[in-house]
């Protein structure tokens, strides 16, 4: 007998439920968590190296880093914090909530103020998978071209903050900054857009934003 069974259910329900557990665990440990998403080569790891260096003595940091293969990024970041867990996803193009759940069992969450999850380099696949983070941060760089925000609306729409990296290259590559800003604003009027240069060690807007968000989360948790 042929039957149609109505369902109407979110396809990513299981992932979302695990993400909810992660989020609860982060909140109980009073650690502020961001999911950093950007294309390969946009400078995610370089930004984090400098971020961790500049936050030394200011905030206790940890990193979960996802890559298809190698532990190279984890090794780079381990120079700045001993709380690093590297996930190798193999053919997987994004992290999911369960991978993060397994990774955080290896971290002393209560001893951290900020945990950064560096997602697999990709502007599409990681966006739909909630990891339990408090904020999603999208990273673009001028060497990728000024059309990337418009071409990746899901990331821009759902990001809590956006970063434009490698602005030191603006004299050398064609990149229309006003057009990029306009594309971002068209899609997301709430997220701050921070322009930084890791190469010139100019990332203050980003570190200030990150610390302010972590402070705000701490204050909300205590009140």
């Amino acid at each position: 007998m042929n039957v149609t069974v109505p369902v109407v259910e979110n396809v990513l329900k299981v992932n979302d439920e695990i993400a909810l557990l992660n989020r609860r665990m982060f909140s109980e440990a009073h650690v502020y968590v961001i999911d950093l998403i950007g294309a390969p080569g946009s400078g995610k790891t370089a930004l984090l190296e400098l971020t961790l260096e500049q936050l030394t003595g200011i905030a206790r940091t940890g990193v979960v880093v996802g890559d298809p293969a190698t532990a190279r990024d984890g090794q780079r970041l381990a120079r700045f914090t001993r709380h690093v867990v590297q996930i190798n996803t193999g053919h997987g193009c994004h992290l999911d909530a369960n991978q993060v759940r397994q990774a955080i069992t290896r971290l002393p969450l209560s001893d951290l103020d900020i945990l950064v999850i560096e997602n697999v380099g990709n502007l599409i696949c990681p966006v739909g998978f909630d990891l339990g983070q408090h904020a999603k941060v999208g990273l673009f760089s001028v060497s990728e071209g000024d059309d990337k925000a418009a071409k990746h609306p899901h990331l821009v729409l759902t990001a809590n903050a956006l970063i434009l990296n490698k602005i030191d290259l603006l004299p050398y590559v064609p990149f229309d900054v006003p057009r990029f800003r306009e594309d971002v604003r068209h899609l997301n009027q709430m997220a701050p857009l921070m322009e930084v240069s890791v190469a010139r060690r100019q990332i203050d807007p980003w570190t200030h934003w990150l610390l302010a968000q972590a402070d705000k989360a701490q204050t909300n948790a205590s009140s």
Binding site: V11, H91, F129
Partner: protein, 128 residues
């Protein structure tokens, strides 16, 4: 290639909703363009996933609703051709109000023929 992980998530959900011993014939899903799913890649991933589960003929029917934007200035709602499309009133900003759906709508299944179950025997207990 997040279509493969999506196909696996989808099949996991279907298996939890499948009646016992039923065979999957088709699944209807609604995937908004916000999720960046490529229909051809999704079909390929689906075929690979269902074949492994023993339902090689199971079909995937994808409904793709359009993007829907709303202008905060004039309140107009429209389906843009591209995401950077501005409102006709000239306002630069727009809010996404449709296109982010990701739902399993229904599944078509074949149920096994019912086995004849004898009616339970009536046992009299106590005095009438």
């Amino acid at each position: 290639m997040h279509e493969m992980s999506i196909a696996m998530e989808l099949l996991g959900l279907i298996e939890r909703r499948l009646p016992p011993d039923a065979t999957l014939e088709a699944a209807q899903v609604r995937i908004g363009p916000m999720h960046g799913v490529v229909a051809e890649a999704m079909q390929w991933a689906w075929q690979a996933t269902v074949a492994e589960k023993g339902w090689p003929k199971a079909r995937l029917l994808i409904d793709t609703p359009p993007w829907q934007l709303k202008c905060p200035a004039c309140g107009r709602q429209w389906n843009p051709q591209a995401m950077d499309e501005r409102c006709a009133c000239g306002h630069l900003e727009a809010r996404v109000v449709g296109g982010d759906e990701f739902l399993l709508l229904s599944i078509d299944v074949v149920l096994p023929p019912k086995t004849a179950v004898p009616p339970p025997a009536i046992t009299k207990t106590g005095a009438l």
